[in-house]
Symmetry: C2
Subunit: 136 residues, 2 copies
């Protein structure tokens, strides 16, 4: 057994379970997103840390900053009914969703432009080298 027999996990076990690096977990702790207990110097991650990390990684996939995620997690802790927390999370999600949709629109434009530029560039190359490449 790596641990003491209870439900805590070492940093290594956490990394394997969640697919993150030790550096990332320490970083989240420095930013006050995780609060592992200490056994001597070593960190031990509890169920609570695991739940928080799940939410952290989900938030990251949606493009929330760690600071935003921290604030939502804090709300979650302070709110027993989770009503206010849920409300705030939905608001944040709506704002973030709008950003992501705007970002997708910009990305679509950029992709379209780059495709055009690329087509023109390849056409120029073809005309420079003769028609040998045009068929490829």
């Amino acid at each position: 057994m790596t641990g003491t027999g209870d439900e805590t996990m070492t940093i290594r076990a956490m990394c394997e379970a969640f697919g993150v690096t030790p550096r990332a977990l320490r970083f989240y702790e420095a930013r006050e997103l995780l609060f592992p207990i200490r056994e001597g110097q070593k960190r031990l991650y509890t169920r609570r840390d695991r739940a928080r990390l799940t939410l952290i990684l989900r938030g990251k996939r949606f493009g929330f900053s760690l600071e935003e995620i921290r604030q939502l997690l804090d709300l979650y802790d302070r709110d027993d009914t989770h009503a206010a927390q849920l409300h705030a999370t939905c608001e944040a999600a709506r704002r973030r969703l709008a950003q992501m949709e705007a970002q997708r629109a910009e990305l679509d434009v950029a992709i379209g432009e780059l495709r055009e530029h690329l087509a023109r560039g390849e056409a120029m190359l073809a005309s420079m080298y003769g028609r040998t490449i045009a068929a490829a």
Copy 2:
């Protein structure tokens, strides 16, 4: 007259013409993307700098790093026929395009997931507050 009467521009004029900050122009110079001449301490930007800045900003919209842009600009300078440069640029464009398409796909997935989460969250809020909000 601000300048010496030739075709150079001050940093201020460049910023207004291209919609960038002085800090950005100095930064591009530090990274060797621009080479304005000096009149005393002041920078004077030539036609060449303007042409390069146009390409820099275009490259940035496509998500190229400044280092990648610098390499392409350097090729452009060293290659009189621009054949090799055009070839390299097209290769870089193809790679970048693939990245952007992958990013778009990920973004689509994330948007879909976030919409689902949001819908569930709003449904929970509605059930908590009764049906008063559900119709809104």
